[in-house]
């Protein structure tokens, strides 16, 4: 870990570190004070502006935004995972005629901005916003899930597949019964970390006018008056970040808990040199 970079600090180093900590804290407090002062000058801290959070309808609109965000993310995740498994199986097929076209499709899907896919589906197929957002998220994340699971299969000890083939399983059976279950368990932290990316990407729905949390903020600010933009924005951003932090923690928890059922243990949730969790 990071502590290898320096020795256990002696009295002098501890003093320097203490002074550094005090200076750092003062600087950060100063920055916070400046922000609060600016807010106060703009009148953002007036109680009147925050009083809207005592109103039930404001919370109901925020709740609707959160509901729209979470439902798009949940539907997309539920569809994207099996699709990712399927794409992964096609991508590692023994037949070049299946493997190569799948690879091209995956490269295409992973190389495009998600918001462009959403707009494409919205305009070309004339769907409603919900379907466009979900489909954009599904296409992109299925491709990423496929790559994560493929990395998992490749990281399994070679003997796993050899043993399966030796006892007479077909190539497909070995993939389904022996390799995939272990690969999914092994990559679980990365898969959950990718869920955070998916959840964050629902906010792109804002751009195609899907009524998610950020759009709810905009609508409320337009409706109630722009002086309420800041309070509503800060509350909404805090909710979003809190939800994402919770999901991130779950990924770290799974990583810590590990798994003895996957050969080679469980991969790390942090972006390792493999494809995991692309922002």
């Amino acid at each position: 870990m990071s502590s290898v970079l320096y020795d256990v600090p002696g009295p002098k180093a501890r003093r320097v570190s203490l002074i550094g900590s005090i200076v750092g804290t003062v600087l950060i407090l100063g920055l916070l004070a400046w922000i609060v002062m600016t807010f106060a000058q703009q009148g953002i801290l007036e109680g009147r502006r925050w009083a809207i959070f005592t109103r039930a309808d404001v919370w109901m609109l925020l709740g609707n935004g959160i509901g729209a965000t979470l439902s798009a993310a949940a539907v997309a995740a539920v569809i994207a995972f099996p699709l990712g498994l399927l794409l992964c199986l096609l991508r590692i097929s023994d037949l070049p005629a299946i493997r190569i076209p799948t690879r091209i499709v995956l490269e295409f899907l992973r190389g495009m901005p998600v918001v462009l896919m959403m707009l494409f589906i919205l305009l070309v197929f004339g769907t409603n916003q919900f379907i466009a957002v979900v489909a954009g998220l599904v296409l992109y994340n299925a491709a990423v899930f496929a790559e994560i699971i493929r990395a998992g299969i490749q990281s399994l000890p070679k003997g796993q597949r050899e043993a399966g083939l030796t006892v007479g399983l077909t190539s497909f059976q070995s993939r389904m019964i022996i390799e995939l279950p272990q690969a999914v368990r092994r990559m679980m932290p990365s898969l959950v970390a990718q869920l955070v990316v998916l959840l964050k990407d629902t906010s792109l729905g804002y751009i195609v006018a899907y009524g998610e949390l950020l759009r709810a903020v905009q609508v409320m600010a337009d409706f109630l008056g722009t002086q309420f933009l800041f309070p509503i924005f800060f509350v909404a951003a805090a909710i979003y970040i809190a939800i994402n932090l919770c999901v991130s923690r779950i990924a770290v928890w799974i990583e810590r808990r590990g798994s003895t059922k996957a050969a080679g243990g469980v991969a790390k949730a942090e972006p390792e040199p493999i494809e995991a969790a692309v922002p």
């Binding site: 970079l5 550094g20 462009l116 305009l123 924005f233 994402n244 991130s248 040199p273 922002p279």
Partner: protein
């Protein structure tokens, strides 16, 4: 197809704007991210705490919210921008720096303990250990993940199109609205220009991963 061919100059403009946004924010994010990673492993507790908070919060913030903050909230706080590009670059580089900091930190952790111990035993100080011994090795290991983050940055720059910056996505949206009958061709044209940046970068990442990676 007509709309695509007629608007090639627009596409080209958007392409250059996307490149400009990506390169500028990429450079700023690389510098900021490396500084954050250095702060994260430093002996000063306040710096570690600041860097950790920054990385955790920004990594869990949707990019759209970062853009909303930079383009709509900041100007009302008295931070005025002459051009929206500046807001876009601030949002993109602040967001990307958090991911770069994480990647560089995992690279630092991948350098064997003995390297730092050897450096310390010949009397190097923390700054020397980090800048002469650890970071050069760490950066080499993290080049492939860094390229992946930069690919994500190029794709993320499309969000700027929704916040008044006319880059590839922004022009694409305009053209799609103006040519209702050729939406598919127009948007596939936009996709082509994005792939023109992202796919070569992806190939570069996997080549580097194979060739430059240090065998440990």
């Amino acid at each position: 197809m007509d709309a695509v061919i007629e608007s090639l100059p627009l596409y080209w403009n958007g392409f250059l704007r996307t490149l400009f946004l990506s390169v500028t924010s990429g450079v700023i994010a690389l510098v900021l991210g490396t500084l954050l990673a250095a702060a994260r492993v430093s002996p000063v507790a306040a710096l570690r705490g600041f860097s950790m908070t920054y990385v955790e919060v920004l990594r869990n913030t949707p990019l759209t919210i970062a853009f909303f903050f930079a383009a709509i909230v900041l100007p009302r706080l008295g931070v005025k921008f002459e051009q929206f590009e500046v807001a876009a670059i601030i949002a993109l580089s602040a967001y990307t720096a958090a991911f770069i900091a994480e990647a560089v930190r995992s690279g630092v952790n991948s350098v064997p303990v003995g390297q730092a111990e050897a450096a310390r035993s010949i009397g190097m100080k923390f700054g020397q250990v980090l800048s002469l011994i650890i970071l050069p090795q760490a950066l080499r290991t993290v080049i492939p993940p860094l390229i992946n983050i930069l690919i994500a940055l190029v794709k993320n720059s499309s969000v700027a199109g929704a916040f008044f910056v006319l880059e590839l996505f922004g022009y694409g949206r305009q053209l799609a609205n103006a040519n209702g009958d050729q939406v598919m061709a127009v948007l596939l044209g936009v996709a082509f220009f994005y792939l023109l940046i992202t796919i070569p970068l992806g190939i570069l990442a996997s080549t580097v991963e194979r060739k430059v990676a240090i065998a440990r």
